[in-house]
Symmetry: C2
Subunit: 133 residues, 2 copies
């Protein structure tokens, strides 16, 4: 399996797959011509990585997940802990974004948005705290 094929199969760009090899996430064989030669297992790994990344796990977390995946003696508790930690971070990020959102909503609502220069948004940014919180 050439890189293009496995790229199509996994949905990952070829560049990304090469990068994953660079950082040691996959180790495809090489053909006589120097081309990478991916096994089905390699393709499967890449799909696993793609899915893990799409769930927002960092590369290092993906590396850990992959090693857990390949370890038949793993404890599911380890996987769960990793995922739970990630979940917490996401929840926290959502909270932060929602705080931003409500601040911005207030500001945007207050700004009349016409051709005159006075603007509560700029006033807030400048520290004349219309709301700040």
């Amino acid at each position: 399996m050439n890189i293009g094929e496995v790229s199509r199969a996994s949905g990952l760009p070829a560049k990304t797959i090469r990068y994953y090899e660079d950082i040691g996430l996959v180790r495809p064989a090489r053909g006589a011509n120097g081309y990478r030669d991916f096994s089905d297992q390699d393709a499967h790994k890449l799909a696993f990585l793609g899915r893990s990344r799409s769930l927002g796990f960092s590369i290092e977390e993906c590396r850990t997940l992959l090693s857990l995946y390949e370890d038949r003696d793993r404890a599911s508790a380890d996987v769960k802990a990793l995922a739970a930690e990630h979940l917490d971070r996401i929840a926290q990020k959502i909270d932060e974004l929602q705080a931003l959102k409500s601040t911005l909503e207030t500001l945007v609502t207050r700004c009349h948005g016409d051709d005159r220069p006075d603007c509560p948004i700029l006033d807030d940014l400048a520290g004349r705290d219309a709301l700040t919180a």
Copy 2:
């Protein structure tokens, strides 16, 4: 005003302030000794930038906001449009994160998390789609 002082006043690290000068967001004067010499206006600008950044605006958006702030003939509509656009992106990001969150919650809930190896989280990542959506 030296950089340390304006750093304390604005809450921005000195490194960040130097970086902002590098990219042309502020242009502090220089003393005879080569030290940056910040005016009150410079300090005010930096506070403005800090607040804008903390609301999640990109550096380029901050640059635009700053130029609008300094333009007495601005139309508040321009500011509002920029903020509204930013707000949309944040709302979209929140939606994405919430989708992630609910997927992860389901997975984490399903995993018993003990010392046995079988794990619905890994099953999902591997594509044996327990839920996927």
